[in-house]
């Protein structure tokens, strides 16, 4: 192949490439930067039903009562009866005519309570409670629902072991919730 022929062949190849993007995947720049494990750990807020993602720390409902009253009661009511925020406490059967859906009668996992409080509550100052405070206030909400006692200590080990009353109350439609647990 002469130099000219080779140039022509290269030109044709490049034109074919430009003219037919559907025939081969377009080249993709690879611009992602390696994320340090420390960054991943600081950013990762997910808490799974098996407790994966729960931090160290601990708290009891007795300790959580004051935290609840200071940060939660104004929206959720003094005893979790609801207000501008959702109703948290109550164990009415879900087959009642117009049941409140509460932590006690509806939420399937206690880990979700910790996860949600840590990421989103209180709404006027999210991410200001310490991990001990989040364990304690989670315990207090569970206490309002008669799921734990005032003195029960919640931590990364005990929280995932709580079996919520409505744990089996859900039917997956387009995907299935995790089995077991």
């Amino acid at each position: 192949m002469s130099m000219l022929e080779r140039r022509c062949a290269m030109l044709l190849a490049s034109l074919a490439w430009a003219g037919a993007p559907a025939q081969a995947p377009a080249p993709v720049p690879r611009l992602g930067q390696p994320a340090a494990p420390e960054l991943v750990q600081r950013w990762n807020l997910s808490v799974y039903p098996d407790g994966r993602g729960l931090p160290s720390g601990q708290g009891t409902a007795a300790q959580g009562r004051a935290i609840y009253q200071a940060h939660c009661a104004k929206c959720h009511g003094a005893d979790g009866e609801g207000g501008s925020g959702g109703t948290l406490a109550g164990r009415a059967p879900l087959t009642d005519p117009d049941p409140d859906q509460t932590v006690g009668n509806y939420w399937p996992y206690a880990t979700t309570l910790f996860d949600f409080i840590r990421r989103a509550m209180p709404m006027d100052a999210p991410a200001t409670l310490s991990e001990d405070e989040i364990y304690a206030v989670s315990a207090y909400v569970l206490y309002l629902n008669r799921i734990v006692r005032l003195e029960d200590r919640l931590d990364a080990d005990s929280l995932p072991k709580i079996r919520m009353p409505n744990r089996d109350g859900f039917v997956g439609i387009d995907a299935q919730p995790p089995a077991g647990r």
Partner: protein
């Protein structure tokens, strides 16, 4: 003379409240001819006026001026970013927020005031859990981690270099139309009950490209997505869907996504419920199981009469809605009107929309406005000659899978009234003798 006679004569000349079904041929052709003739004669009249004005520049006292004030002085200069006419200031999102937390709630798209299939960007519905974050572009990064070969972060200028795909898609909140579960029909504008749905052209990076770059574990079936708002909202998304057609969107209707729609980065999950379309996207975690977040357990699940609740109801089933005539509008006497509405399905294209003017006893096919796109708003139209007698208008969508939008009684019979989410029943509007339109269960 001819023009004046035609203009005062009731167009179409029909006596009964029948649909002029120009989608199905014969019965509609007379109506079309009438429209055509009116159009021609009216433009003929316009020409005559122009010639007359040209012959006499000075208007006579007491006459409407031939050139109005805005034709005799220079207009406004250019603008850097256009705004709607001040006279359209009533066309707004209707805000329904938590009384204690201003950034918690929704705003509704005024579907009853809009035409076509694209929702103006400033009228796209909003659902915020704790306000709209103002995110400096240069400080935003997307993290992909979890079951991946290498955890990566992507800076915004870098993401902007990836191949872009765009698609016209509706987004609908799972809680849209939820007043339909109420025992009495809510009386409000159509968009303020069904307008937690909007349709835009979304453009961005196919999510699969970024998952491939991070080396996502093919055996991990879930992806956890999280936003950078004050609620750090997160959801679990099946990886198969993430790879199939999801976008990491940077643009909406040609411009960078606006803050309330997720600036600078939003996950787009075509056809699936709105909460999955995480705004202000900051973290994607490849995971072996769903995280069971608050917004996929305590919320966005649907309690059934059995006491069990439906969970992971991702697909938004077919729905349709007559946007005109609709409550708050008034028919100005008997005659021909165009029934206009929107239909959409999270399973693909709309195959057909039927319209009834007698509460569902008889149906006729509406005309579908092109383009009919998968998982996008589809505009439908049907000419209607209103006799002036009370009527009940309904529309019923069928999608390309053959799924038919259910009547309200059937939906409630199956799901009860406490599911809150995923209400997609047929909507009925009553037109009374005065032309007033109200919402009815019929």
């Amino acid at each position: 003379m001819l023009a004046r006679m035609n203009a005062t004569k009731p167009p179409g000349g029909r006596r009964d409240a029948v649909l002029l079904s120009d989608a199905s041929g014969s019965s509609g052709s007379a109506g079309r001819r009438d429209f055509l003739r009116r159009g021609l004669t009216l433009s003929g009249a316009g020409l005559g006026t122009a010639i007359a004005a040209g012959a006499a520049w000075a208007d006579r006292p007491g006459e409407e001026p031939s050139r109005s004030a805005w034709m005799t002085t220079p207009g406004q200069p250019f603008s850097n970013y256009g705004q709607p006419s001040p006279q359209e200031r009533g066309v707004v999102r209707w805000i329904s927020a938590n009384r204690a937390v201003a950034g918690n709630g929704v705003s509704w798209t005024p579907l009853h005031d809009l035409e076509g299939i694209i929702t103006p960007t400033g009228l796209h519905f909003e659902r915020h859990h704790n306000g709209v974050p103002q995110i400096p572009l240069e400080q935003h990064r997307l993290l992909i981690h979890g079951r991946v070969r290498r955890a990566l972060t992507f800076a915004m200028p870098d993401l902007a270099r990836y191949p872009v795909r765009s698609q016209i898609l509706f987004i609908e909140c799972g809680g849209n139309s939820n007043a339909g579960w109420h025992q009495l029909p809510q009386q409000t504008r159509a968009g303020f009950m069904h307008g937690l749905a909007s349709c835009s052209e979304w453009a961005g990076v196919p999510l699969s490209l970024l998952l491939d770059e991070a080396g996502a574990d093919p055996s991990a079936p879930w992806l956890i997505a999280e936003g950078a708002d004050a609620a750090a909202i997160q959801i679990s998304l099946p990886m198969a869907k993430a790879r199939q057609d999801c976008l990491v969107a940077l643009y909406q209707n040609g411009e960078r996504i606006r803050p309330e729609n997720g600036y600078p980065l939003r996950l787009i999950v075509p056809g699936w419920e709105g909460v999955l379309n995480i705004k202000w996207l900051r973290r994607l975690e490849v995971a072996p199981e769903p995280v069971m977040a608050r917004n996929e357990t305590a919320r966005y699940t649907e309690l059934q009469p059995s006491g069990k609740a439906r969970m992971f109801t991702f697909v938004m089933e077919a729905k349709s809605l007559i946007t005109s005539p609709s409550p708050g509008q008034r028919l100005d006497g008997k005659g021909v009107y165009e029934i206009r509405g929107l239909a959409w399905s999270g399973r693909g294209r709309i195959r057909s929309v039927d319209v009834s003017t007698d509460g569902g006893a008889h149906w006729a096919p509406a005309r579908l406005q092109e383009p009919v796109l998968p998982m996008a708003f589809t505009r439908f139209r049907a000419a209607w000659d209103w006799s002036g007698a009370p009527a009940v208008l309904k529309s019923r969508a069928t999608d390309e899978t053959g799924y038919v939008q259910p009547e309200r009684a059937a939906l409630i019979g199956e799901r009860g009234r406490h599911g809150y989410f995923h209400y997609n029943a047929i909507v009925a509007w009553r037109v009374d003798e005065d032309g007033e339109v109200s919402h009815v269960y019929a």
